[in-house]
């Protein structure tokens, strides 16, 4: 990567550049940044996420101007003040609300792209971890913002989440009280959540995104082939398979923006509550501290984690189970140590396992959308086991395994699934009749992958990675 040699620019830009290296930075990060020539659909979501971040900051500014962080006024300042009385307030609010949800759509797709193409592997481990940190801060930001309209779901959602802290032994209760500033969620809580939402977290988010981009440009972009283009330079030191980000990918990204905007404004103008998923219908009732709504669940993007929590009949283990779901994601670079990055050149069974990940994630969300019946709790428990299984299988595919190793893996994973069921039975939590209805799902999944691997080792054989990129018409 050629770093900014002070350009000999003249005129005003030259004068400025001499003092602040704007021209050099432009060159380094846009016209002089060599991006692989084969970016596809999946590479839209990073830049789109940045766009949505800017939209959230802009719309949020105007919302904050009209919003009142006071338990008596908050609900009405939103539902009447912003939505009806202020000019275009409804547009600003719906853009902010829709933006928050679509932000998560984009970030989930963005993360899955990284998983598919092995973008978390050397040398991008830190880039990936920064991404996880961004996800956590974003989740916090969404959670804090959800309290502000002070509706029923706002109130009870915050109540529940803050209380997860009390699962921490000994000091948990003190911390929860300190966070709330009150015995239960109340005025002090609303006030500080407002401050965190509009002040603290946005700064953290912006700083992290900046570091994210710096880290990306330090190591260079990965691509759908997983081939490192910086290993193949022409005599000027420019990657043979690279093209300048600007204008080639800026144009591509602008196309992405226009398609995204169509979707975004379709929701804003035609379906602002998003079938009850962008704005929960229960949030049209003001918070009531002495009545829990009987159909309570978090916003859609947290549903999968909610199912994990509900699946475990123990407070501490429940919170640990859903926290560990993030640890699994963060640990991807440790779990998957196969030298091949892209899914394109991985074995058939690895592809199946990678496809299972989003399927399970969505399935968990569907389960959590149902009520907290014992039946749904048990299904949630088995779906959670399946989620973890897909991660525990990753190291299996690091290289082709012997029959003996495959059998050990099979026995250990099956023992894990059945062990959890035995534990549930032993503590009288659920009956076998109920558990047998769904525990065949993780059981058969593990058997399917590992028995196939046993009888047909070909299915675990990785492909051959080409030396140069295989797609993309442009050469430089």
């Amino acid at each position: 990567m050629t770093t900014g040699t002070t350009s000999e620019q003249r005129g005003l830009m030259g004068w400025i550049n001499h003092r602040i290296p704007v021209v050099d930075m432009w060159r380094e990060h846009l016209t002089g940044y060599a991006a692989p020539k084969n970016f596809n659909f999946w590479y839209f979501f990073g830049s789109l996420s940045m766009l949505v971040l800017v939209l959230q900051l802009a719309t949020g500014l105007f919302l904050a101007i009209h919003y009142q962080p006071n338990t008596h006024l908050a609900f009405w300042s939103v539902l009447r003040g912003i939505m009806r009385d202020s000019h275009w307030g409804w547009l600003i609010r719906y853009m902010h609300v829709t933006g928050a949800s679509l932000f998560f759509v984009l970030v989930y797709l963005h993360m899955y792209r990284g998983i598919m193409y092995g973008s978390y592997k050397k040398p991008r481990e830190l880039l990936w971890l920064i991404g996880i940190a961004i996800y956590l801060v974003l989740a916090g930001e969404a959670f804090l913002g959800y309290l502000l309209p002070w509706g029923q779901m706002s109130f009870w959602g915050s109540m529940v989440v803050v209380n997860f802290v009390t699962a921490i032994p000994v000091i948990g209760n003190g911390i929860a009280e300190w966070l709330r500033g009150s015995f239960i969620v109340g005025q002090p809580t609303l006030n500080r959540f407002f401050v965190f939402h509009v002040f603290l977290m946005p700064f953290a988010l912006m700083a992290l995104v900046l570091v994210h981009i710096i880290a990306l440009h330090q190591v260079g972009s990965n691509n759908p082939d997983g081939v490192n283009i910086r290993e193949n330079l022409n005599k000027d030191g420019w990657p043979k398979d690279g093209i300048p980000f600007h204008p080639y990918y800026s144009v591509k990204d602008i196309f992405g923006v226009s398609v995204f905007m169509l979707v975004f404004f379709w929701f804003v103008f035609y379906n602002p509550s998003g079938w009850g998923y962008l704005v929960d219908k229960l949030n049209f009732a003001p918070a009531n501290g002495i009545k829990t709504p009987s159909d309570i669940h978090p916003l859609w993007f947290f549903l999968p984690f909610y199912a994990m929590l509900r699946g475990v009949p123990d407070k501490l283990y429940g919170v640990m189970t859903f926290a560990a779901a993030f640890v699994m994601l963060a640990a991807m670079p440790l779990l998957d140590r196969n030298p091949i990055r892209s899914i394109r050149y991985r074995s058939f069974l690895y592809k199946v396992n990678l496809l299972a990940m989003p399927v399970v994630f969505i399935w968990l969300g569907v389960i959590a959308n149902g009520q907290a019946t014992e039946h749904n709790m048990v299904i949630g428990m088995h779906a959670t086991l399946l989620y973890y299984t897909t991660f525990f299988l990753l190291p299996y595919f690091n290289r082709q395994r012997s029959a003996m190793t495959t059998i050990v893996w099979l026995v250990v994973l099956e023992a894990l699934v059945w062990g959890v069921d035995f534990w549930m039975y032993a503590i009288d939590a659920h009956s076998w009749g109920l558990m047998l209805q769904t525990n065949w799902i993780p059981t058969l999944y593990i058997a399917f992958i590992l028995l196939l691997a046993l009888v047909s080792p070909k299915l675990t054989q990785d492909g051959k990675v080409p030396e140069r990129l295989t797609q993309g018409g442009l050469t430089h």
Binding site: S182, T292, E374
Partner: protein
């Protein structure tokens, strides 16, 4: 970020008149900004509390955890000074939602004896608000300090006119 003095002062005891609570009825009151239940238990409800089928499913059948101010409040399976009048702070010990009152047997699960079911993550409690295995909640719901001022008026927030147990807190807080 700790609670301010005004918030801390909300802890004053409250008097609750229960004369209008019919058998089987649940009254919701407020103390320290928290919801408080007064459940007028019928005889059949009291009987469920000592069913062996229920007792074996309870995480803490004998109410040993510090979720009531003193052993006097445990009173066998009743967890109440007067068996018919059950008083508890209506907060699930999992994450403080208010559980739903589900008195009808066989509704929440097939073996259901009647009690409370939390809509948030499915915790289950019997008519004494003792937590049932299979729930994410760890403890029985708290019984606040209280005493009967008269036959029909209960004072919640202290255990005697001299203010006994006023600063007691259950282990869940």
């Amino acid at each position: 970020m700790n609670p301010g003095k005004a918030i801390a002062a909300l802890g004053a005891p409250v008097d609750i008149d229960v004369s209008k609570v019919e058998p089987g009825q649940l009254l919701l009151a407020e103390w320290k900004k928290k919801p408080v239940w007064i459940l007028h238990r019928k005889d059949w409800m009291l009987k469920t509390l000592s069913e062996p089928g229920l007792l074996k499913r309870l995480k803490d059948a004998a109410s040993q955890a510090n979720q009531q101010p003193a052993p006097a409040y445990v009173n066998g399976n009743y967890r109440a000074l007067k068996p018919h009048m059950f008083i508890a702070v209506a907060l699930c010990t999992h994450a403080q939602c208010i559980p739903d009152y589900r008195p009808a047997p066989h509704t929440v699960t097939q073996w259901w004896y009647g009690g409370f079911h939390c809509p948030c993550h499915g915790s289950m409690y019997d008519f004494s608000a003792r937590v049932i295995e299979g729930s994410p909640a760890p403890l029985n719901m708290p019984v606040p300090p209280y005493y009967w001022v008269s036959d029909t008026v209960v004072r919640v927030g202290e255990g005697s006119p001299s203010g006994a147990d006023k600063s007691w807190t259950p282990s869940i807080w």
